[in-house]
């Protein structure tokens, strides 16, 4: 596979990179991704990403958990082997709530997390592209894919130099 050329703007501060994102985008340059050692609030919006909606998967998995739990308790206690406990109801709804609650939480948490791992391609086997090993330490890196960004190398470097980037590197991966 042919190497792809990326232009990397390295920043020292989260506010600088956040401002640079809008500057660069205003010039019509498409940003591949911005990498940071911690979450920067408002960065996803500045990059024009839709709001993260992991809650949808949590809800769907959660409701599955609730249904499975009630199915289990109702079926076993009310139908498969009804037990007469002092003449009480065969399906005592309140006593089934704890199990339904626990299974809801269990499935919602694990379901959502695995959806997240899937969406981000996170797995022990993953071979990530690491643009700069200092990203997980203290640097903020804006990566621009030269082919897809719709600007020339010179324009991009100029645009990055106008921001507060401390370094501008070109890397082929």
């Amino acid at each position: 596979m042919a190497n792809k050329k990326y232009i990397l703007g390295v920043f020292d501060d989260d506010e600088d990179v956040l401002n640079a994102v809008s500057d660069v985008r205003d010039k019509g340059i498409k940003i591949h991704e911005v990498y940071s050692p911690f979450a920067i609030h408002g960065l996803d919006a500045a990059l024009g990403y839709p709001r993260a909606r992991m809650g949808v998967s949590a809800f769907l998995f959660g409701i599955t958990g609730t249904s499975l739990a009630f199915l289990l308790t109702f079926w076993t206690m009310g139908w498969d082997w009804p037990m007469n406990v002092g003449g009480k109801n065969f399906i005592p709804f309140p006593t089934n709530i704890p199990i339904a609650f626990e299974l809801t939480v269990l499935l919602a948490a694990y379901g959502m997390s695995f959806v997240f791992f899937g969406m981000e391609g996170l797995s022990p086997m993953a071979k990530p592209i690491i643009f700069d090993e200092r990203i997980t330490d203290d640097k903020f890196v804006m990566a621009i894919d030269l082919e897809k960004c719709g600007a020339s190398e010179k324009d991009i470097i100029d645009a990055l130099k106008h921001t507060k980037a401390s370094e501008v590197n070109v890397k082929e991966i």
Partner: protein
Amino acid sequence: MQVVSPIREHLVTGGKTLHDITEDISRHVEGNPTREWKMMFGISLAVLAYGGYWAYQTWFHGLGNWGLNKTVGWAWDITNFVWWVGIGHAGTLISAILLLFRQKWRTSINRAAEAMTIFAVLCAGTFIFFHMGRPWLAYWALPIPNTFGSLWINFNSPLVWDVFAISTYLSVSFLFWYIGMIPDLATIRDRATGLRKNIYGAMAMGWTGGARAWARYEDVSLILAGLSTPLVLSVHTIVSMDFATSVIPGWHTTIFPPYFVAGAIFSGFAMVQNLMLIVRVVYKLEDYITIEHISLMNKIITVTGSIVGVAYITEFFIAAYSGVQYESYAFINRATGPLWWSYMAMMTCNVLSPQIFWFKKMRESIVVSFVIAVVVNIGMWFERFVIIVTSLHRDYLPSSWTYFTPRMGDIGDYLFTFGFFFVCFLLFAKFLPVINMAEVKGVLKSSSEKRTKK
């Protein structure tokens, strides 16, 4: 940007930069174990081995080496179980509830607290297996038709709810802890070489820190916190129902769920306080776990301790007010009967001792904080002992009234879990980052000494 009031104490002192944080925390993962660590690990292993002998005795020769008798059929095993589960509440409380309340000070203690939670819940689980008597049949507690036919487990039983609650809590806490650790594992991966790089690389699961990933990550954390908050409350509620749904005077009270939850938070914070004070000194993390953190923890200890105190008094009052002679007697016997000393220990350790933190000087003293935290843990153990043993040892039939004395099996099994807990915690402190670097970096700007002085 966020504005922080200038009167707020700094969460990170010493003028740290982002790189300093990485260095200060990763150093302990990368370096060789220190002498203190080796010493503590050696002691923990010795305790584990000694306890392991008794655990073996209990597991393979039965519960006869416990001090149980015909009247007191449930004593140290369940006391220890509830004690460990209670301790296991602080981690998720700190990371989930304080996350929802946007309490930034949680960032430097949440990782260790969550790790502690997981190990404490595992210890609690050990006691479930212990007091099943025949641990190889533990799978009978799962919802599968039993071996003799198609009879199912009784879903009306709080003990079955416990199985679901504790296992869910353990799994979800583990997930929360692990997801919170992914960015930090990536930090260590990027600093490491050779085999270490591969191991930490696999654990970091290819985290790169992209903006899209961070946005989803934050969303996942928030929702996990939202799910864990009712979960953590439900777990101890269900544990309390093991007692509250019975008909034993002294157990059959509706106040149990909130009372147990407050107690759990109380003892959990005390344990976190103990562990963090040790970690702080041994790992020289005074700039991250500051006096302000210690003081805030002490405030929570005082509040929850007082809630527990109110619960004790309420329980007593209601027993008298109910007019039920058995109920009243259970409580009079608790305070003045042969086990009065355990009731006194509980009252002094849990209700009186934390009141010392009304004084700022005491709240900010490391020695006092440590001592009180130990006292609180002892007190909370006695609380469970009081509830369980004093309610049982004088039953409805005066001829069978008795006393409870622990035997070596009780003590040995308890030591076994202590050894296990500290071995796990020390391994965690050595091989994984004890402070959440990514989150501390995130709050550095708004609350470090260096930035706010500008």
